[in-house]
């Protein structure tokens, strides 16, 4: 049975900074619940001798050498910014602090 409750959906929405209406929370509770239940059926197949993986293929590596490449110009970097001071992005003052 799904662990997805309306409270949990509301909590996740708050963590993700998504404003949801009560109707949307109700709809998503059902939809997310169905997804989680579907994934849970896989757990029935998994036995203790099968290690958990986060990827279907055991790929590793894929690193790059420590060699500098091409950088953006400041103009390019700021091109998509809603606001800037010519060299830095300007954002609304955020209450809170770095994590």
């Amino acid at each position: 049975m799904s662990e997805i409750t309306p409270e949990r959906v509301a909590y996740l929405a708050q963590l993700a900074r998504i404003a949801l209406t009560p109707d949307e929370i109700e709809t998503l509770t059902g939809e997310l619940g169905a997804i989680v239940d579907a994934v849970a059926t896989v757990q029935q197949v998994a036995t203790p001798d099968v290690p958990a993986t986060s990827h279907p293929i055991p790929l590793t590596g894929g690193m790059r050498p420590d060699v500098p490449g091409v950088t953006l110009t400041t103009e390019q970097a700021l091109a998509g910014a809603p606001d800037h001071d010519g060299s830095r992005f300007r954002v609304t003052a955020i209450l809170g602090e770095e994590q």
Binding site: D66, A77, Q99
Partner: protein, 504 residues
């Protein structure tokens, strides 16, 4: 809390047992960033100065950009893990730490969560009097640094009252290793000292490994200090605070001491400690509340889908283990013995943070005592006056060259100080400064004898005294000769000549 309200440190220690924990962030000095080939500002040769110039689409989290792990950063991280006595994970993984703050453009930081690259270590830390403390290391994991925010519109540049914030993403993506200790118990009244010694040891290690420039004032090495108190006899850990923004060794020590005294004052009155981050203020020597922090902070960690697991080969780990430098405490013991320093002399060097400089100067050919004398004396004095690090003012090889000039008799100590001054002022190498300023000692006996004869002739009474055997009277004549030579004479040789000519 005003300092007057704090509990006296010794009383606090009588009532409570302090428990420490540290999170130290080390910026690696790779040429490029952790997941992007943008130049790494924490590698000073990259000379990154202007805002938003060392960035690629990966640093900005632009759509379609993908992170790729910097192999060198992984090697550095493994070396650091090994130096901390950690086990290296045969497979470790990156994870996304999701949070909303504009210091990272992606709304998440790539870090490591339940599969760090290094875990379960022990670091031997030496206190000032030589006491060794084993600090248990929980883990060391790889992650990326965040960008730099400047708050504008507020009265003090701090976030309170700010109207907007300006963001420079140059630092976003700089490779970091975060070293987390287990709770450290048993430090007792030496807890503040241990805090300083621990961070200092990490700094020595990363410098010896050559994996970070480790300049605390530049943020290459940052320490968050966790402090909690528990009543004597209590087993359960107390509620802790995490003090951030501690950017010098001295501050680490002061911040821990302050938190012990502050928490003790609250607990003794029956109050409770709020679990929170606190900010250290260098000017007032106090901490102030930051953000409430609970163990249940929900960052919705999940495995980073854009990156493959890191699987270092056993051969690589062996190679890096074999290349590890001597551990700092062992190195100090060896150097002290080799140099023949007294405890006091050696402690003076270590506590001034000049061990590397003195060692390099000895390696460049100077005698240990001379190297110590110059670094902890004249150079430290100038550095202090200029509010700079001694090592940034003059190179070890230049100091060794000055020592060589003094020992060969080409310079007196007084002239040598002028040469050091000139080198620090950017006038060139010691030899160039000597030439440009004309500081060579007058070793031509002819010129010295003429000056001695003239001085003796001017002071016939002194001449009489010397002839009567009152050798100490020669001082007046030696002084006159040194003055006449503009200080460019070897006083010992002048004395010899004065006594010789007086009898002539």
């Amino acid at each position: 809390m005003a300092r007057a309200e704090l509990m006296d440190f010794d009383t606090a220690l009588e009532l409570f047992e302090p428990v420490l924990g540290f999170e130290v962030h080390v910026e690696l000095s790779t040429k490029t960033k952790m997941f992007s080939d943008a130049p790494n500002p924490a590698f000073s040769a990259n000379e990154v100065t202007d805002a938003n110039t060392a960035i690629t689409p990966v640093c900005l989290g632009l759509p379609g950009s993908l992170p790729v792990v910097n192999e060198q950063a992984v090697r550095y991280s493994i070396s650091l893990g090994l130096a901390l006595g950690c086990q290296i994970a045969p497979m470790s993984r990156f994870a996304r730490k999701n949070y909303f703050y504009p210091d990272l453009a992606k709304n998440y930081q790539i870090s490591q969560y339940d599969e760090p690259i290094a875990f379960e270590g022990t670091l031997e830390v030496e206190l000032e009097d030589g006491t060794l403390v084993q600090v248990p290391i929980e883990r060391a994991h790889m992650e990326e640094d965040a960008g730099k925010l400047t708050h504008v519109g507020g009265s003090t540049g701090r976030i309170q009252g700010a109207e907007s914030s300006l963001v420079d993403y140059n630092r976003a993506g700089v490779p970091l290793v975060e070293i987390v200790t287990k709770p450290i118990v048993g430090a007792e009244h030496r807890a503040p000292e241990l805090a300083r010694a621990y961070v200092s040891t990490i700094r020595d290690i990363v410098r010896a490994l050559g994996i970070s420039e480790a300049r605390m004032e530049r943020g290459n090495l940052r320490c968050d200090a966790n402090v909690s108190l528990r009543p004597r006899g209590e087993q359960k850990l107390g509620i802790r605070t995490e003090t951030k923004n501690v950017n010098s060794l001295r501050s680490v020590e002061r911040a821990v001491r302050y938190e012990i005294q502050r928490q003790a004052a609250i607990l003794a009155k029956g109050g409770t400690i709020t679990q929170e981050t606190r900010h250290w203020h260098e000017d007032t020597g106090t901490t102030s509340p930051g953000r409430p922090k609970s163990d249940a902070d929900d960052y919705r960690y999940f495995p980073e889908p854009d990156l493959l697991p890191v699987v270092p080969s056993p051969a690589l780990i062996d190679e890096l283990r074999d290349a590890l430098p001597e551990p700092p405490a062992a190195r100090r013991r060896r150097l002290k013995e080799e140099w023949g320093f007294t405890d006091l002399e050696f402690r003076d060097v270590v506590n001034s943070g000049l061990l590397v400089e003195v060692a390099d100067t000895v390696a460049a050919g100077a005698s240990p005592q001379q190297a110590r004398k110059w670094w902890t004396g004249e150079i430290a004095r100038i550095a202090n006056a200029q509010d700079a690090e001694p090592g940034s003012l003059i190179s070890a090889s230049d100091v060794a060259a000055v020592v060589e000039l003094v020992e060969s008799g080409a310079l007196t100590d007084r002239l040598a100080r002028q040469v050091v001054e000139g080198v620090i002022a950017g006038e060139g190498t010691p030899a160039e400064v000597v030439a440009a300023r004309g500081l060579q000692v007058v070793s031509d006996d002819g010129a010295l004898i003429a000056a001695v004869d003239a001085a003796l002739a001017e002071q016939p009474d002194v001449l009489e005294k010397i002839r009567d055997g009152k050798v100490q009277a020669a001082g007046a004549v030696i002084g006159a000769v040194m003055k006449a030579m503009g200080g460019k004479a070897d006083a010992a040789r002048v004395r010899e000549l004065v006594l010789e000519r007086a009898q002539a």
